[in-house]
Symmetry: C2
Subunit: 390 residues, 2 copies
C-alpha cells in the first residue's frame, strides 16, 4: 500500500544536492502557469539576466537547460562538436571521464590529459597536448571537480585554448556561487553548471552560457546537432525570441520559479560575499577536522571551499559512519567516488547549507560517531578550533 | 530591479501544462533529500510501481526520465536505433515531425506515412509502408496527438509492427491518465509520456517504459547510444539496481516527489474512473460549444476527450480572444499549432483540471469574449446544454 511520501528533514552536506532554501521551496510550489504565458516570458528574461550575473557574462545565449548538469554537459558537446574533430579532455576526477564519453558519442576523438585524482589540471601538460595535436578544435575541462574537491585554473586553461584557436568547454557545476566564476574574464566559450550545489536550488536544471565564438560555431555547423532536445539552434528560438517565442519543448515551469528565487538570493547577497562566506566556513570546518586529527586529502593550493575531501581515519568503516550520521543526526555527507571510494569522505558546504551551525553540527556528529566506532581521534577540541575562526 | 516571482493563479485549459493539484504542489516543496538516500530509494521503487500501473505494464524497465517529454521521445530513439536503420514514422500532426527529426539525427532513415492533420493514422497506409520497406526495424507513432486532439489505434499499429518484426515506439504524452493506455495489451515496445497533461503534475519529467524486445535490442547494440544522459544501459543501473544503485546523474528529487503524489492520486481514483471522468466532461464541453454554434474540428470517431479542437468562428481574432480570456478570466486555452495555427483553439480538459466547474467557466468566458468581439454565436444556451450531461 503506497502512501504520500514525507521525506525526513536532512542536513545535506554531501557533494549535492545541498540544502534548498525555504524561500526556494516556497517559490517552487507556486501555481503552475503556461510556458507561453506573458508572465512566464517576464520570468524567463529575469532568469537570463540573473544567470548572466551568476556567470559574470554578457553572453546573450545564457539560459537554463531543462535537465540536470549531465544534460548541460551534453548540450555543450553536441552543439560544438562535429564528427571527426579532436578534443583535448582534461581528466583529474570522474567528470573528465564523462566528458570523454560525450566526445566519443559525438563521433569525435578525445585526447586525454590525465592528472592524479585530488590534484589540479596541469596547464603545462595541456599545452604539450595542444603541441602534439595542433588540429584540436576544443579543450574541455572541469573547473571544480565534484569527485575530488579540486579547483583548476580556468583562466589559464581558457587562454591556452584561445592561443591554440580552440574553443573551451568548462564544467562549473560545483563552482558557480561558491568560488569565483568569471566567464567573460576567462573568455570561456561554453560553460555549464548545476542548480543543486552552491545555488541552493533543487536538482534538475543546468544553466549554460555560450560566448560569441561558440554561437558562431553553432550557426556554422555542417551537420545538425545529434540531439533534438539539446539543439541550441532550436532552444535559442524559444529562449531568445523576445515576445516571439517559438515553442520548442514545455519548460519545467515550477523548477524555473525555484531557480529564479535562488539566483535572486545570490544577487541579494552578492557574489563576492557568497564566495567569502564559503571560504570562512571552509576554514572553520578544516580547523575543526584537523584539530580532531583528521587530514585533508587535497593540497591547500587547489582546495575547494565548498567541497572538503577528508581522509577516512584508521578504524572507521566508511559506510557505517555515513549510515550512523544519517540515522542519528539526519546528516548526509558524501562517499568517495571512483578512485577515492572508501578512502575519503566528501563534506559539502554549499550555498544555503554553508553556515556556522552546519559546521558545528558536522564536527560534533562526526566526533560522536567516530568515537563510538573506536577510530583514533582527538575529542573535545574540534568545535573550539572551528569557533576560533568566527 | 528583480523581485520574487508570484505567478497569477490561472486555470490551465490549454494543451498542457494543465492545472497541478495542490496535493502535488505540496509534495513538490517538501525538503530535498539526497538522490542516494535510503528513503529516496524507497520512493524510486514506489514510483516505478505506480508508473507500471499508469502504463498498465509489468515491464521491469519503467522509470521517469529526468527531463521533459521531448527527452523521453529522444530516449526511445537513441536507445533503439542504430545508424542506417529504416524507421516508419506516422505523421498526422506536429509530433510525428519531431519523431522524423529524431530518426534522422540518429543516422537512420525515416519513411514517412502522412495523414491529414485532424485525422487518425491510417493503419492500411502503414501496412503498405511495411510492404514497401520490409527492412524497417521500427514503427513510430503518436497515440494522442497534442497538436490536433486526435487518437490513433495504438493496438492495431503495435500489432502491425510485431507482424513485420519491427519494434514500436509510441508517444503517449497526452494520453496517459486521460484515455486507455495499455502497454502490455498492445505489446508496445518503447513508450514515453509526460507529466504535465493528464497526470496533473508539473512539467519537466517524462515517464518511459521499455518491453523485453526493446531491452534485448538495447543490450545487443553495436554502437553506444549517442546520448550519454539518455543511455538506458547506464540509467538502468541507477533505477534498476535495487539497493546497489550506481550513480548516473543527480535525480530531480523534488520533481519526483511531485510525480509520486500525482501517480498516487491516479491510483486512488482508478484508471477507469479517470477515463470516464475525462469522457463525461468532454461530452459536456462539446455540448456547450456546439450549442453556442461552434464546430468541433475532429471527427467524433477519433476525438480525444482531454484535448478539444474547436474551429475559430468567423469574426473572432485568434490571439485577441485568447488574450481576453487570460486577462479577464485568468483562463488559458491553447492556440492551434502548425497547420492548424489560426484555425482552431485547443481546449484541454486534463487531469485535475478536468471538472464541471472548469467546463462551465470555459463556456461562460468564451461566450462573454466572443460576444464582445462580435463573433456570431448563440448566447445563453451553452451552460444549459453542458449541464444536461451532468
Amino acid at each position: 500500500m503506497i502512501r504520500s511520501f514525507y521525506p525526513p528533514q536532512r542536513t545535506l552536506m554531501g557533494p549535492g544536492p545541498s540544502d534548498v532554501s525555504p524561500r526556494v521551496l516556497a517559490a517552487l510550489s507556486r501555481p503552475t502557469i503556461g510556458h507561453l504565458d506573458p508572465q512566464f516570458i517576464v520570468l524567463m528574461d529575469e532568469i537570463k539576466s540573473l544567470l548572466q550575473y551568476a556567470f559574470q557574462t554578457e553572453n546573450e545565449l545564457t539560459l537554463p537547460i531543462s535537465a540536470p548538469g549531465s544534460a548541460g554537459m551534453e548540450s555543450c558537446f553536441v552543439n560544438l562538436l562535429e564528427p571527426g574533430e579532436t578534443v583535448i579532455v582534461c581528466q583529474n576526477g570522474v567528470f573528465g571521464g564523462r566528458m570523454k564519453e560525450n566526445v566519443e558519442r559525438c563521433g569525435a576523438r578525445a585526447v586525454m590529459v590525465e592528472d592524479e585524482w585530488g590534484t589540479a589540471v596541469d596547464v603545462d601538460k595541456v599545452a604539450a597536448a595542444f603541441k602534439a595535436n595542433p588540429q584540436a578544435s576544443v579543450l574541455a575541462f572541469v573547473h571544480a571537480e565534484t569527485s575530488t574537491g579540486v579547483v583548476s585554473d580556468a583562466s589559464a586553461l581558457c587562454q591556452l585554448a584561445r592561443d591554440n584557436n580552440a574553443l573551451s568547454i568548462v564544467d562549473t557545476v560545483t563552482s558557480v556561487g561558491g568560488i569565483e566564476v568569471n566567464v567573460d574574464a576567462w573568455a570561456a566559450d561554453a560553460v555549464y553548471s548545476g542548480t543543486q550545489k552552491c545555488l541552493s536550488c533543487i536538482p534538475g536544471i543546468s544553466p549554460v552560457t555560450f560566448g560569441p565564438r561558440a554561437v558562431a560555431r553553432i550557426n556554422d555547423r555542417q551537420h545538425k546537432a545529434q540531439s533534438w532536445f539539446l539543439d541550441m539552434q532550436l532552444v535559442m528560438a524559444y529562449w531568445g525570441g523576445g515576445s516571439k517565442r517559438a515553442y520548442h519543448h514545455t519548460a519545467p515551469v515550477n523548477d524555473l520559479y525555484a531557480l529564479h528565487e535562488s539566483l535572486l538570493m545570490l544577487q541579494e547577497e552578492g557574489l563576492e560575499n557568497a564566495w567569502q562566506r564559503h571560504e570562512l566556513h571552509h576554514q572553520a570546518l578544516v580547523a575543526g577536522l584537523e584539530a580532531m586529527g583528521l587530514s585533508m586529502l587535497v593540497d591547500r593550493a587547489y582546495r575547494l571551499p565548498q567541497l572538503n575531501l577528508v581522509s577516512i581515519p584508521e578504524g572507521a568503516d566508511d559506510a557505517s559512519v555515513r549510515q550512523a550520521l544519517l540515522a542519528d543526526f539526519n546528516l548526509e555527507i558524501g562517499a568517495g567516488l571512483g578512485a577515492l571510494a572508501g578512502k575519503a569522505w566528501r563534506i559539502g558546504l554549499m550555498g544555503y547549507a554553508c553556515n556556522q551551525q552546519n559546521v558545528i553540527l558536522c564536527l560534533t556528529a562526526l566526533e560522536s560517531v567516530l568515537s563510538c566506532c573506536g577510530a583514533k581521534i582527538n575529542t573535545g577540541v574540534a568545535v573550539t578550533a572551528a569557533k576560533s575562526l568566527y
